[in-house]
Symmetry: C2
Subunit: 318 residues, 2 copies
Amino acid sequence: MEFDLIARHFTRATPGAVLGVGDDCALVSPTPGKQLAVTTDLLIEGRHFMPQDGPAGLGHKTAAVNLSDLAAMGATPRWATLQIALPAADDAWLAAYARGLFRMLDGHGCELVGGDTTRADVRTFGLTVIGEIDPGRALTRSGARPGEDVWVSGAIGSAALALAYRQGRLFMEQIHAAQVLPALYLPTPRVELGRALVGLASAAIDISDGLCADLGHILARSGVGAELDFAAVPVPEAARGYLHEAAAIEAVLAGGDDYELCFTAPAPQRAAIEAAAAAVGVRVTRIGTTRARAGLDVRDAQGKVMPVARTGYDHFAT
Amino acid sequence: MEFDLIARHFTRATPGAVLGVGDDCALVSPTPGKQLAVTTDLLIEGRHFMPQDGPAGLGHKTAAVNLSDLAAMGATPRWATLQIALPAADDAWLAAYARGLFRMLDGHGCELVGGDTTRADVRTFGLTVIGEIDPGRALTRSGARPGEDVWVSGAIGSAALALAYRQGRLFMEQIHAAQVLPALYLPTPRVELGRALVGLASAAIDISDGLCADLGHILARSGVGAELDFAAVPVPEAARGYLHEAAAIEAVLAGGDDYELCFTAPAPQRAAIEAAAAAVGVRVTRIGTTRARAGLDVRDAQGKVMPVARTGYDHFAT
């Protein structure tokens, strides 16, 4: 059967599992004393990726968006199961997809232990990832307290700037566009940073819906508000010349798909956080402060609160 | 946002989890000393179900096909994560889907701890289920030895007979069709039976692709062959009058979607297996014997080997 081809591309040695791909279930032995962090994401053609997107990039992204959820909890990736639906099984296409997927999973010690392959007109990829973490140590969305620092990793807005450029909503020099495009196709989940922040950050989330929307989830679940300094938000070097454009501002504050971490922490942790981030080679930047009063205000360089439309923040959408 | 509606329908109390729906990951504490059995299945409109199929039945089926994989390992269901993609969020439709899903999950003590909801033109449902089992006790596909009994639970072919009837490939009296149709829409995963067979059965699988095809997986993974007695295969009462028809024979031997268990066991376990099955209220029937020589032969009432085409068994499709 043609679809055995698929199974073959995704069957590899799984020394970290008791029983891998090929039976009714995968069998794994959790590390004694650990809790499990479980997350799942579905990528559908035409919605999460375009028909012309290449297979290696899609494999990379399938793994990256799920690993990013584990990163936001501070968990260590262990096992994954893949769901894959395709109109036909093309050997070269599958080999490239598997290469992209396994490069990302292997890089984080995550083993593919099972899955389900099926035929469908619309290409669909789903991954469920299981990680481990010490009990009571997970970075949830609900731990932020008033008066804490708001931090982000990396640069914010790259993926959304690239998308705005590709869709013709933002003019960028090609040399600048080339610098942000990789973020759209090859996001980097901040797994090591997430683990390093355990015990330091009070709350964390990965930025998939946009900086203000995702920080908004932390604020709502923690029962606090926050104020951000737009000038402090780290943007990709290539974006500096475009920040007078509404589309560029929106990409930074409301654009998704960056998969950087946004987290909160008490001020006394500043030095420890800088050191932890430096140890894993990721830049982190303080961009604001939480407060007791609900809501999220972003202030421009003149100290004026920026219009809500540009921030993408909605009090009620949590 | 409209899609918050979806999240609301699937967010329930999860006393068996540390952290349920609503954060980056779900957090659960595995029972000390247990192994985890993990399985995942994707149901796509037009392939695994029809546009006109009702939501409660789809919810039921989403849960049932995954729980059936745990049943085939003898594992105890614990936690599930749901992926759901829909063109629009319809409140009444979602309520009915959730009702069907939770009725099945609740009935097996399985908690929905997380998920991913998205918009898509083609309705797609994916579930990943995690169960627990004592180390070394799982019923794999590879434990069958020559000279063992081959068993099945329940009646075989109901779902395929119903499908053949619905597609006009098999004439059945309406009164008979009505008796097999529920199997197609509301399959019953044999979770309790699977657990009861731990320590008694040598190998097990659930029948999703067809009796001969699925038994074939056990044979291939165990390195044995088998001989079945067609007259011994338990068929639904309503099918008895149609077994002279090729389409009916094919439904029994090669039809899928029954989600009964097929398992092997040494002959000395017969009484214990009958008792274990009776204790959980499920009928089990011996239908053949494993042998050292590879391959699968099904013999008719005259002792003649039936043609391979009707059995759906292929030596090389494992």
